[in-house]
């Protein structure tokens, strides 16, 4: 029985590792800062959750050691990761980072008067000159 629980913990850690790799691939492949922040904050949150939970279960099964610190780690990652994700995207939008080419709509543009996508619609000559 203990072996099964241990194996489950190890499986969780492995899944967490795979998730971390996938989110790293996501950061490399996705087009702009906004979509990258999805990969950076979300998938890695899940990865951290899975590996910490796996470690917790493993030590619980193998050594009857209930580590409160691991649970606290999960809690604080969950509290801080969305805040950083929110602030990064917000700061990026406020400093007028453009959305990716494939973006379809931008509800914020009318509120903030941000040129995120509108600039791209009319490729002005000044843009080309800068390049």
């Amino acid at each position: 029985m203990i072996q099964i629980v241990e194996g489950f913990g190890v499986f969780l850690i492995l899944t967490g590792g795979i998730m971390a790799v996938i989110s790293a691939i996501g950061i490399l492949r996705l087009p702009d800062v906004y979509t990258r922040s999805h990969a950076a904050t979300k998938s890695s949150t899940l990865a951290v959750l899975l590996s910490l939970l796996g470690t917790f279960i493993y030590f619980w099964a193998a050594e009857q050691f209930i580590s409160v610190r691991l649970l606290l780690g999960i809690t604080f990652v969950f509290l801080t990761a969305p805040v950083s994700g929110h602030l990064i995207t917000r700061a990026a939008y406020r400093s007028k980072v453009k959305l990716a080419e494939s973006s379809t709509e931008d509800a914020l543009a009318e509120v903030l008067g941000n040129p995120g996508r509108q600039e791209k619609k009319k490729p002005s000559s000044s843009d080309n000159e800068e390049k």
Partner: protein, 161 residues
């Protein structure tokens, strides 16, 4: 709700003291606590608010809903990231929510941002409108909206009477 919890603990301590055992036993305290739950449950209509364990129950339900949403949308994101051709159409859409108060708002924003596929980018100054960046607006908009509704309902169950 804190009053009910404190009362419950008081009953538990009273029970332990009245049992008058030679040494302190945790099992007696727990028995007293369970007894207190029974007493409070019978007395709940005098408190004027919901029985506090119902709230604890809905908080646990919120957590479970969140975990299932997390896994579902993570799978979606993974398939999108790993598909050979990226055919995502990111975008920002606005959503007007029906929650009130700082705590409810913060909880919803936190849960939404943790769910893959959506980031709350801006909150309007009065806090009524969320601007959400979604990974794939056209395809996952309905999914995101559905999970927002689910979260909203679950949060209300926890915070409202």
């Amino acid at each position: 709700m804190p009053a009910q919890f404190l009362l419950n603990i008081t009953i538990a301590i009273l029970w332990t003291l009245l049992m008058d055992e030679e040494t302190f036993r945790l099992s007696t305290l727990i028995a007293g606590y369970l007894l207190g739950i029974g007493v409070l449950f019978l007395m709940q209509r005098f408190f004027g608010s919901k029985f506090y364990l119902i709230r604890v129950y809905s908080a646990i339900k919120l957590l479970l809903i969140f975990i299932s949403e997390l896994f579902q949308s993570s799978l979606l994101i993974i398939t999108q990231i790993l598909s050979p051709k990226l055919k995502i159409k990111p975008g920002i859409f606005s959503y007007e929510h029906n929650l009130e108060g700082d705590y409810e708002l913060t909880a919803l924003a936190l849960l939404l941002t943790l769910t893959p596929g959506s980031v709350v980018m801006e909150v309007s100054p009065d806090g009524k409108v969320f601007y959400i960046h979604a990974m794939d607006v056209e395809e996952s908009r309905d999914a995101v909206l559905r999970s927002i509704k689910v979260f909203e309902k679950a949060i209300m169950e926890v915070t409202r009477d």
